[in-house]
């Protein structure tokens, strides 16, 4: 049949070209944290506008995905909203990868409820109890009676792991936590659920009118701290540690960064990159935007 031969030639041609084609030219692949993906994308967009020769491609999927990709050598840089674990470093080393760590921003983790929920503050203990399944009704924490519907992230999320380690004290989440694929899914779910509670990077929730960000008390007697100020993230309470659930945002390299990668990373922690961080409503590194040099790594 006359149409099959050209098709076979087509397949062979593509195969031949695939072998001839150069490896992905001058570009940086970044995978990882869903919390950081908007940030990473905006940073990439801004940087590429100034440096048209470089292409940066960004994929989300969760911090676990990024670090796994780093270990599997399927990415150049990994975004992570949690520090890399010792066993991950060991796995990476076994694969010939020596991860280098860069702290690029900070983030406050917000705990949110529906705007119609009268609750305004919770202690860390109470959040712990809610997410571990010990507290199941809003009346137990001072709200109107109703079943608590918990929303959390998938286990590959750095946010999931960070929350587990620092709020749940390494305990396990309750089995009935609704697992959402991204922070924006958590935000959307809580905004539609009067009895819902969720958590995630504050940048996702700050602009939403349908959710309320709770003030968190470090202990029962400590003052309640809101991670917002005038509707934007409150950098001071994050830098000072007053807000108890704040974290670093990291980028990891597969070893010594290439020249392009190093230039990009240096740009990110410099004033221009940090300005983008601040614009996207994450917390920039302390002191960079004031002109001082940051302590990064």
């Amino acid at each position: 049949m006359t149409t099959r031969r050209p098709m076979r030639i087509g397949v062979l041609a593509v195969a031949a070209l695939a072998l001839a084609a150069p490896a992905r030219a001058a570009n940086i692949t970044i995978k990882g944290s869903d919390t950081m993906v908007i940030l990473a994308q905006r940073l990439a967009e801004t940087y590429m506008k100034k440096n048209p020769a470089i292409t940066i491609q960004v994929t989300g999927g969760g911090s676990g995905t990024g670090i796994a990709a780093l270990i599997n050598k399927t990415t150049n840089l990994a975004n992570s909203s949690r520090p890399i674990k010792a066993e991950e470093i060991a796995k990476a080393n076994a694969n010939g990868v020596d991860p280098g760590e860069y702290r690029v921003a900070l983030d406050a983790l917000a705990v949110v409820v529906h705007k119609d929920n009268a609750l305004k503050e919770l202690s860390l203990q109470q959040v712990n109890g809610i997410y571990r399944g010990d507290i199941n009704d809003w009346s137990e924490v001072g709200g109107a009676p109703g079943r608590i519907v918990r929303y959390c992230r998938e286990s590959n999320s750095g946010t999931y792991v960070f929350f587990k380690e620092h709020v749940l004290q390494n305990g396990d989440y309750a089995a009935d936590c609704q697992t959402m694929p991204g922070t924006s899914a958590v935000a959307e779910a809580v905004s539609r659920d009067r009895s819902g509670i969720g958590y995630g990077g504050v940048a996702y929730f700050a602009p939403l009118a349908a959710v309320r960000i709770l003030s968190i008390k470090k202990t029962e007697t400590a003052p309640a701290v809101l991670p917002l100020k005038d509707g934007r993230p409150n950098n001071e309470v994050v830098w000072s540690g007053e807000y108890p659930i704040a974290r670093w945002l990291y980028m990891y390299t597969t070893g010594k960064p290439s020249a392009d990668e190093k230039a990009y990373l240096d740009w990110i922690v410099g004033p221009e990159g940090q300005q983008v961080v601040s614009d996207i409503e994450y917390v920039p590194l302390k002191g960079v935007l004031d002109g001082k040099k940051p302590a990064v790594h």
Binding site: S155, C177, Q178
Partner: protein
Amino acid sequence: MVEGGSLMAGTAPGALRTASLEMPRAGGGRPGRRRGLGEAAIELFLRMNGWVAVMLIALIFVFLFKEGVQALFSIPLSDFLGTTVTDYRGNPKVVRMWQPVSELPKYSLLPLVCGSFLVAFPATLIAGLFGVAGGIYLAELASTRTRETLKPFIELLAGIPTVVIGFLALATLGSVLQGLLGTTYRLNAFLGALGVSLVIVPVITSLTEDALRAVPDELRVAAYGLGATRAQMIARVTVPAAVSGIAAALILGMGRALGETMIVLMATGNAALITLNVFSSVRTMTATIAAELGAVAQGGEQYQALFLVGSLLFTLTFTMNLIAELVLERMRRRLTL
């Protein structure tokens, strides 16, 4: 007379529909006819292509089980049912949870299997109701013109990408349903089941229609001869005669429902619970693989566990397809005698 190019060709029902007519082959029984070397080479090439499908199924089998079996070595077998933890009072108790990322990784398969079936059963029931009714209508009640317009219409339903249905369930139907029924969880197994049923209705309709059409007309004529109304003929004669075909349709539909990924990933809430409450959130096997595979380091425990889940899923759907095929074989043999 063979039905040409159905839109569902290539799905399980389409493949099962192909009749096996015998084609004349040259060289067969003709003395003194020698085929050239070129002919032999072409035939060899075509034969190899034919075996590719077999090779692919075998490869899928091998690669899935190769990794999955390793999970059985690195994780104790009892862990797949439940894990023993110590509660805060120091007493041991068995929890059945799927929580691979944890101080104490838990790999119980029970919530996942329970979740898959809690979506698949209602979906098959709902789709079975609509599908069998549709098949009866198309085969027995509709005029030819109506059938010619409706059939492609229903097949179009089969052509909608599942991600679109999942998206609509998540964006619109979920809230509507919660408003109507007042459920605690907006995203639950029932919502997933509704979405999945949309996908398998065309499968069941098509196979039911085929099964009914395959019933010989003599049976219908005989029923009329005995004074039955049309409805009585359908309900008491035709449908019972085609019952194996309809059963096969339902089994195939359930297999398809078990294998559905995108709709359940977006609409069921993904909470690994063991429950019979269809309005609770569940986590299916397919959604677990889809959500977690991207994040695991290759060769690790969780990676192997996910391949084990995949192997289990593959085995389940494979078995269902096999049973359906056998049932259909039996029906074909019975009706053609």
